[in-house]
């Protein structure tokens, strides 16, 4: 967690020092796309390589699936309603 905060701050400092030309912004965006693709591949590979996880998946996978699905859906609903109310109040 601390390394992420540190790296983020370094990035913010670099970003505030550079002259943000359109060309530079596009380059950053391309790097981000490449990075996201790599990160997701690595996350997927980590899951595929985890034999314990894959073995557990057959027995308790559906329980985890259901918990994840409902907590995600209700979080989305709550945040959407709350931010809509917030936006309306702002106007």
């Amino acid at each position: 967690m601390w390394s992420i905060i540190l790296v983020l701050i370094i990035g913010i400092i670099i970003g505030s020092l550079v002259n943000p030309t359109e060309k530079f912004k596009k380059l950053i965006s391309k790097f981000q796309f490449l990075g996201v693709t790599l990160l997701l591949f690595a996350m997927g590979a980590g899951l595929g390589l985890n034999e314990d996880l894959l073995n557990n998946l057959k027995e308790i996978g559906w329980v985890g699936f259901l918990f994840a699905l409902l907590t995600t859906v209700f979080s989305i609903i709550c945040v959407y309603i709350a931010t809509r109310i917030f936006e309306r109040r702002q106007h």
Partner: protein
């Protein structure tokens, strides 16, 4: 872009199950950490280039409370509904739901508090939550609103999901997303044992 997200993760899973040797499994974590830190650096540069960003966030300061609170409430409700469907103890269900996507920690906490099985369920739940976040963020950004992209990410909105949120929203949302992740990550080690202790 949405398709490329799905392809990256699916190809990763298939490679992990088939061609990649088991010997690289311990190094995957390091690889992910390096990739993530490089990405976060670019996210930081993106934020830094927007001079008014912190003023914008300050104007919407209340969101820094509203969004994490809504995610906690949503996760608790989701956990309660799940406990009714599968007939699990309420305290265990709430503790599993309070992982907010941070699978490593919630898995370890519940293994210690309860059993290896509940720990494994907590781990799986939060792995699935992260996968659902990856898949839903593009659609939420398009059809709901940009703030709501933070909702499925939960505690991971400050690290693994931050680049995804960044990809589909704007630097203001990214700053809120980061703070949301800090708040929820701090709540995981507090709320998991707390919910578990409610009998």
């Amino acid at each position: 872009m949405t398709l490329s997200i799905l392809i990256s993760i699916v190809v990763g899973i298939i490679c992990g199950m088939t061609v990649l040797p088991q010997s690289i499994a311990p190094h995957m974590d390091l690889f992910t950490t390096i990739a993530l830190n490089i990405l976060i650096l670019f996210v930081g540069i993106d934020i830094g280039m927007n001079k008014h960003i912190f003023k914008d966030v300050k104007k919407h300061g209340l969101l820094l409370v509203i969004i994490p609170l809504s995610i906690v409430i949503g996760s608790v409700v989701g956990g309660l509904v799940t406990s009714m469907i599968i007939d699990y103890d309420t305290n265990i269900s709430l503790a599993i739901s309070a992982g907010f996507g941070w699978y490593s920690l919630s898995g370890i906490l519940l293994t210690k508090l309860d059993s290896a099985e509940i720990g494994a369920i907590a781990f799986l739940t939060n792995v699935f939550r992260e996968v659902f976040a990856v898949l839903s963020i593009p659609f939420i950004a398009k059809y709901l609103n940009k703030y709501t992209t933070i909702a499925p990410a939960g505690a991971t909105s400050m690290d693994t999901m931050l680049p995804i949120v960044s990809r589909y929203t704007n630097p203001e949302i990214v700053v809120i997303s980061f703070f949301n992740g800090v708040v929820l990550s701090s709540l995981v080690p507090v709320l998991v044992p707390f919910f578990y202790s409610l009998k």
